[in-house]
């Protein structure tokens, strides 16, 4: 094998050329240098190319998914969903703008702004509605309105423990991340982590506790690892977490 033949295979040669490439490398300093340079480039790219996705993507995706599940029974063509998504993303963007503007104005008017009694009632009724889409809207309303009322909190804890929709439970866990300093919230999330059968919910609970590690959390994770049917992806995440010191 000469340099020209070896060049395309300096990284991960196929099995049938492996021995020939290795043999060439032992005798050719130029190809060894080229190989080292390519490996260094790979490390640079792997370290620097990944870009963290914004969390709003998750909100938009789960909103779309729940909406899709809700309306799925209607007979529609594929184009309709794309229109639905686009209009939905517009609605979402608009809702964020409105909430942001309202938030800015109300912060100026009133420092520790509390949601009015009727807003709290409206959210509580959304969180208990039969439609998952309405319950999801309720969860995001709590988040967007930064509602801190005890009743709302309690309702979200009920959602993560008992809501039949995986997506609503995931959304509620994410909203509760803002309240992780509350011991009751942490305890509820640890309970969910060890008892919820849905891998997606387990992952959301893991994201929550990653930000707030503690000895009780480590114990709950050890228990989780003993479940034989634990989803491998979740198992790997738990292991990674457990190898990180508190």
């Amino acid at each position: 094998m000469n340099c020209r033949d070896a060049e395309p295979y300096l990284l991960d040669p196929p099995a049938h050329l492996d021995a020939a490439v290795r043999a060439h490398l032992t005798t050719c300093a130029a190809c060894r240098t080229a190989q080292a340079t390519l490996i260094e480039s790979q490390v640079l790219l792997r370290t620097h190319l990944p870009v963290p996705p914004p969390s709003v993507m998750r909100t938009a995706f789960y909103t779309t998914l729940v909406e899709l599940q809700r309306t799925r029974k209607a007979v529609v063509g594929p184009g309709r969903w794309i229109v639905l998504w686009r209009s939905h993303s517009l609605r979402l963007a608009f809702a964020f703008l409105v909430v942001f503007a309202l938030g800015a104005v109300s912060m100026q008017i009133l420092q520790a702004d509390q949601a009015s009694g009727s807003e709290v009632q409206a959210v509580l009724s959304q969180l208990g509605a039969p439609s998952p889409a309405t319950r999801l809207t309720g969860v995001y309303t709590v988040s967007e309105g930064e509602m801190t009322e005890a009743q709302v909190h309690e309702a979200l804890l009920t959602v993560i423990r008992t809501d039949p929709s995986v997506n609503v439970r995931v959304a509620a866990l994410e909203v509760l991340t803002a309240h992780a300093q509350d011991a009751a919230v942490r305890a509820a999330v640890v309970h969910v982590l060890g008892s919820d059968p849905a891998p997606l919910v387990q992952l959301a609970a893991l994201r929550f506790i990653e930000a707030h590690p503690s000895a009780e959390v480590h114990r709950a994770l050890d228990t989780l690892l003993q479940q034989p049917d634990l989803e491998p992806f979740v198992r790997a995440q738990v292991r990674t977490f457990l190898t990180t010191p508190i």
Binding site: P14, S41, V51
Partner: protein
């Protein structure tokens, strides 16, 4: 078959069990977002494009061939989404000197230290031809194997291997040129 493999989940989604799409989203949305950020250099647009991939996955779920690997299929969808994006009037690539700096996965302190390195890397990547850039992102961010790249592009595994190696070499040349130009004395 692992009941939570991408393929098993996709088989259930295909049957209408849409709830399982959440797990696929969790596994792949980061890589897809990075793919679009590096190919368009527009983070806001990239969010929409990555979402579009999942909307198409749900919409066209019945076109998924049972047993086919999901990652190449998802990246084929991503390439179609990107191609459709460039076809729409007004959507053109942003020249490098007008592009905003890309978001980083590093902490602010580390980021400050590495900002110069990042600028050099971004510069070299942006000057790379779009096909090579796409290949490098697929192989180094999405972490597609040569097998999966071959399936995504409909080429042989050997061709995938050779193309990735050439793309990496082209990148290295641009990166080194940039490095050398930085070291020239400034007037």
């Amino acid at each position: 078959m692992d009941p939570f493999s991408d393929e098993a989940l996709m088989a259930r989604i295909r049957q209408g069990d849409l709830e399982h799409a959440g797990l696929l989203f969790e596994r792949h949305h980061g890589a897809l977002y990075s793919f679009f950020v590096h190919t368009t250099r527009q983070p806001a647009v990239s969010q929409d494009l990555a979402q579009d991939v999942f909307v198409r996955l749900l919409t066209y779920r019945t076109s998924y061939q049972l047993g086919a690997r999901v990652r190449p299929w998802l990246h084929q969808i991503a390439r179609n989404v990107l191609a459709d994006h460039w076809k729409r009037p007004g959507n053109a690539a942003i020249p490098l000197d007008e592009a905003p700096p890309l978001p980083s996965s590093q902490s602010p302190a580390v980021e400050l230290e590495r900002s110069e390195l990042r600028a050099r890397l971004d510069g070299a990547l942006a000057r790379l031809n779009p096909d090579n850039r796409e290949l490098l992102v697929l192989s180094h961010v999405s972490d597609l194997s040569y097998d999966e790249i071959a399936e995504t592009y409909g080429i042989t595994v050997n061709a995938a291997r050779v193309r990735v190696c050439r793309a990496l070499k082209a990148f290295r040349t641009l990166y080194t040129q940039h490095e050398a130009s930085d070291e020239l004395p400034r007037r």
